[in-house]
């Protein structure tokens, strides 16, 4: 019998398309890469509530308000599923959150852009949740069990997010010229940041090879981005809106759309914390946590009192 090292056993499970589960032996790098990614993913869901919460009080109808509240509530849930998955790797949720507050953890840069009009609620659902779905569908096939399972639940809910957003844009595009112009302005602002969501070019992306071998990542950044562009063009056409890229055209030979260059300077600028909303997003998160302290303390005190009473 060939005796496999723990590392070989671990890789054999992954190669067989089986999942790694929390008590399994895993290389330290695998564990660290997952914690880094799941924590940032969880933080993204939580911070991602802010740009849309910004419009809850100003939604044009009660129906749209109810939808928006449901979507924002979903994002809170997504954060929780993900923190719960990260905790199976031995990190504490409260510590991850504290590190976010201290600015030591990141979240997706897309949430550092402001939501300036109602049309942004449509565009975010369509493009931002749409890009997220492209990523997350891939992640349901990831090798770490708890993360992959969280992704399955999340993907089911994301579909609602994308479709309600697209419907907001359909309505605006069928409305007055001003409404349609508002939709176009919104697409102009969000298109490039949405493409940036797929991360740097494969050639500039660190650790891609290792992450692919571990099946933490299954499709490269550039391939996912291409997949997203190919899907989205038709949807923009239907709306009668223009995607703000003069280089966007069908390439018969490749069987894909060609598209223009991303402004990588802007990308790194926002990643490093200097985007239009970076400081405000974190400050708001910290304030909400501090303002809620009395509720958490009261709940803890209440629980202790009841425990003491039932022990007596």
């Amino acid at each position: 019998m060939v005796v496999m090292s723990p590392e070989e056993q671990f890789q054999a499970i992954i190669d067989a398309e089986d999942k790694i589960e929390p008590p399994d032996w895993m290389p330290d790098g695998y564990r660290k890469t997952l914690i880094r990614q799941i924590a940032q993913h969880a933080h993204s869901e939580v911070i991602g509530m802010q740009p849309e919460a910004n419009w809850i009080t100003r939604a044009p109808t009660l129906y749209r308000k109810a939808i928006l509240i449901a979507k924002v509530q979903d994002e809170a849930g997504h954060g929780l599923y993900l923190y719960s998955a990260a905790e199976t790797l031995g990190v504490k949720r409260d510590e991850m959150q504290e590190l976010l507050h201290q600015g030591k953890h990141k979240y997706s840069s897309i949430f550092n852009y402001p939501t300036l009009s109602w049309a942004d609620m449509g565009t975010i659902g369509w493009l931002v949740d749409g890009a997220a779905i492209t990523n997350q569908v891939m992640l349901t096939r990831g090798s770490y069990g708890p993360y992959a399972r969280a992704m399955v639940r999340i993907c089911k809910e994301e579909s609602f997010h994308q479709r309600q957003g697209y419907e907001v844009l359909i309505r605006l595009c069928q409305g007055s010229p001003e409404q349609k112009a508002m939709a176009q302005d919104s697409i102009n602002r969000w298109w490039w940041p949405a493409l940036m969501m797929f991360g740097p070019h494969d050639s500039d992306s660190t650790h891609t090879e290792q992450s692919m071998k571990w099946k933490i990542k299954r499709v490269t950044n550039d391939d996912l981005r291409q997949q997203f562009v190919d899907m989205t063009v038709r949807q923009a056409d239907y709306l009668g809106l223009e995607l703000p890229d003069p280089d966007l055209r069908w390439n018969e030979e490749r069987g894909h759309y060609d598209f223009g260059d991303i402004d990588w300077e802007e990308f790194w600028h926002v990643v490093k914390g200097n985007g239009p909303m970076n400081r405000e997003r974190v400050a708001h998160k910290v304030k909400a946590w501090k303002d809620g302290a009395w509720v958490r303390e009261a709940a803890t005190a209440h629980a202790k009192k009841r425990e003491a009473r039932s022990a007596a």
């Binding site: 849930g77 929780l80 905790e87 504290e98 590190l99 990141k106 990542k217 790194w268 209440h302």
Partner: protein, 114 residues
């Protein structure tokens, strides 16, 4: 994104995992949901809550917003006990005892379904 954290030029790739906390953390609960009548509860995730009532309410709000369940259990995570991962060897041994499996035995065709 790609939910992979981009590493800016000159930045270290590792993140911090622990930090000092002020205030108390709530205990963790494991959540089990019965999707519909006739099947068992299935583990679906975990959450933090100060007491069992809050844990149940949070579990309902977080894990069953779209009719995913007709019944929810919450169990303190510290009350879930498991074998050490090494005990997996015992399961492999069980696989070798094929005489425990019905398919081991050949039954003459003449006698029909058994």
């Amino acid at each position: 994104m790609t939910y992979e954290v981009p590493v800016a030029p000159g930045e270290k790739a590792e993140i911090e995992e622990t930090t000092e906390l002020s205030g108390e953390s709530w205990p963790m609960w494991e959540v089990f949901v019965r999707a519909h009548r006739g099947i068992s509860h299935v583990h679906i995730g975990s959450l933090h809550a100060p007491d069992v009532e809050t844990a149940l309410e949070n579990a309902r709000d977080v894990y069953t917003r779209r009719g995913e369940g007709v019944s929810v259990w919450v169990v303190p995570s510290t009350e879930v006990h498991a074998f050490e991962p090494d005990a997996a060897a015992d399961y492999v041994e069980a696989n070798e005892k094929v005489y425990r499996l019905a398919t081991t035995y050949e039954i003459p065709e003449e006698v029909g379904q058994m």
